[in-house]
């Protein structure tokens, strides 16, 4: 029964415009403008008019070894955070789904990293990693391991150290999302499978995973994108150091744009980042579609 649908249709524009206008003017527009800036020599604080230079920025970018290094770091960071995050969260979510006695505490604590400003998460972990006054070195010392490392300052340890922080910051959210997904899985099927004598792994493959897959894929794809594009956490932890070992693409582009004023060049970096995320996503989504067709 559809009643007075026509009224909504005419009223719909009135309802939609307040959000649609800012979206178009302040989001879609600037994005297109941003992409077009990548083909110009736009700089901040310059009087000469901005000129169209075609693909020159991209050609420069191709030879910019520092950028590709930051790019590689960005991918290592994004995979290094997203994959363990997902596996740990999957394990934890099934753990919390068992109704263990301390489960409520885990769920209550889960909101904390989520609610904290990323800047504070970064500061907090700087305190943990602090070479002298940090608890990590003291703990390692007390169990006879290590001799007081400068985790964030060491060339080899900095990237792993920030990856741990990345995992910490996103683990609870991922866990809560997967837990909600698990609770949507049909219990009856589980019971039936158990009665039929299916082992834990087979029950997971046949019952849990199919129901969990939409949530799992969505959260993993989003986590990957967010991680690849992230800024604040690593900016506070290391500002990209030591020696550029943790300089994520966003940090690089930020410096290029707002320290050196190279707007056009930084916009070109943004375009390359978008392209990579798009490729990763389409591979991911293609996998999702073909597998969806199978089942």
């Amino acid at each position: 029964m559809r009643v007075r649908q026509g009224v909504l249709d005419r009223g719909a524009w009135f309802l939609v415009l307040p959000a649609l206008v800012p979206i178009l003017v302040l989001s879609v527009g600037p994005l297109l403008y941003g992409i077009s800036l990548a083909f110009t020599d736009a700089q901040s604080g310059r009087t000469r008019a901005t000129q169209w230079i075609g693909s020159l920025n991209f050609r420069d970018l191709l030879h910019d070894t520092l950028f590709w290094e930051s790019f590689r770091i960005g991918l290592v960071w994004a995979f290094g955070v997203t994959v363990p995050q997902f596996l740990l969260a999957l394990g934890l979510a099934s753990l919390l789904n068992q109704g263990l006695r301390l489960g409520w505490l885990a769920r209550a604590l889960a909101i904390v990293p989520w609610a904290m400003p990323e800047v504070v998460v970064g500061i907090m972990w700087r305190l943990v990693y602090h070479p002298d006054a940090g608890i990590l070195n003291e703990t390692l010392r007390s169990v006879g391991l290590g001799d007081g490392r400068d985790w964030l300052g060491g060339l080899g340890t900095a990237l792993p150290a920030v990856i741990v922080v990345g995992v910490w910051a996103g683990l609870p959210t991922t866990t809560v999302a997967l837990l909600a997904g698990l609770q949507n899985t049909p219990r009856e099927l589980h019971e039936a499978a158990q009665v039929d004598g299916a082992g834990a792994w087979r029950r997971f493959r046949a019952v849990t995973w199919p129901a969990l897959r939409p949530v799992a894929l969505a959260i993993t794809a989003l986590n990957f994108i967010w991680n690849f594009n992230s800024f604040a956490l690593v900016y506070v932890l290391t500002s990209g150091g030591p020696g550029g070992r943790t300089r994520l693409p966003m940090l690089f582009a930020y410096e290029e744009a707002f320290r050196y004023g190279q707007f056009g060049y930084a916009a070109a970096m943004g375009c390359v980042m978008v392209a990579v995320v798009a490729v990763c996503l389409s591979v991911f989504l293609a996998g999702r579609l073909t597998r969806g067709a199978e089942s």
Binding site: Q98, V112, V119, R187, V274
Partner: protein
Amino acid sequence: MRDGRGRRGVPVGVPRRTAHPGSRVVRRAGRAAQYAALLAYLAFLAFPLLWLLSTAFKPPRELGSSHPTWIPRDPTFSNFRQAFDEQPLLRAGLNSLLVALAAALIAVLVATPMAYVLARRRTRLARAVSGWVVVSQAFPFVLLIIPLFLLLKNLRLIDSPAGLVIVYVVWALPFALWMLTGYVRAVPRELEEAAAVDGAGRLRTLVSVTAPLLAPGIAATAMFAFVTAWNEFFFALVLLKTPERQTLPVILTHFIGAEGVADLGPLAAASFLATLPSLVVFAFVQRRITGGLLAGAVKS
């Protein structure tokens, strides 16, 4: 999740598989392993948080010691006082509060009507907007901030809270639409149709039937937008130059000096304070927010 059914959930009348010897021991060991994993998780979650707290209450003497302890031997509030002395924390907190409140209110006001249309009508526009919501998550902020920076500069809105509010509204819109659409779908269409049959006009139906049912969802979305704006760092870093206008996250980074040397006590104290408001908000609406985010994810 515990829905009153038995823990193992074997239906009545179905014979249990015959337990082979030792399976009880195996199950016990399994439980123990589960608790060990849970405790490890709790420790991993809690230990940086506890360390932040511990550091915030330590006098400088203990912070300088090379064998730090978990519990301050001589707890003090002096770090908090010093934090307020060193940086304009109060001012920054007020700036953050104003910007976040304004952004949350405007975002919700603007997004709710549109979310309603998106949820109720499967038009081409609705599909385009949902697509944009997904795509907007994939864009690195540099690509958005450079043009916005130039635009706001032309409007003389750089270094102004109004400019930041505008950016935050646009930034919060995708997720606000996402959450609200889910909430609207949860309001049964039949209720609206029943009201219409009873002779209520469309507006009347919206105001007296839909809006009250939607209110908790709107509130949750507003709080989500508030917390995102309260916590946001990148746009604030780029757009605000004068210290008196900067928001809390930006001010916090001022505690860390140019060489990365920081006064640890005040830094920890200020960080702790900066987290409290969003923590309180999230504690209230956590379930609703997770529900809303997932509703948007699963149902769209």
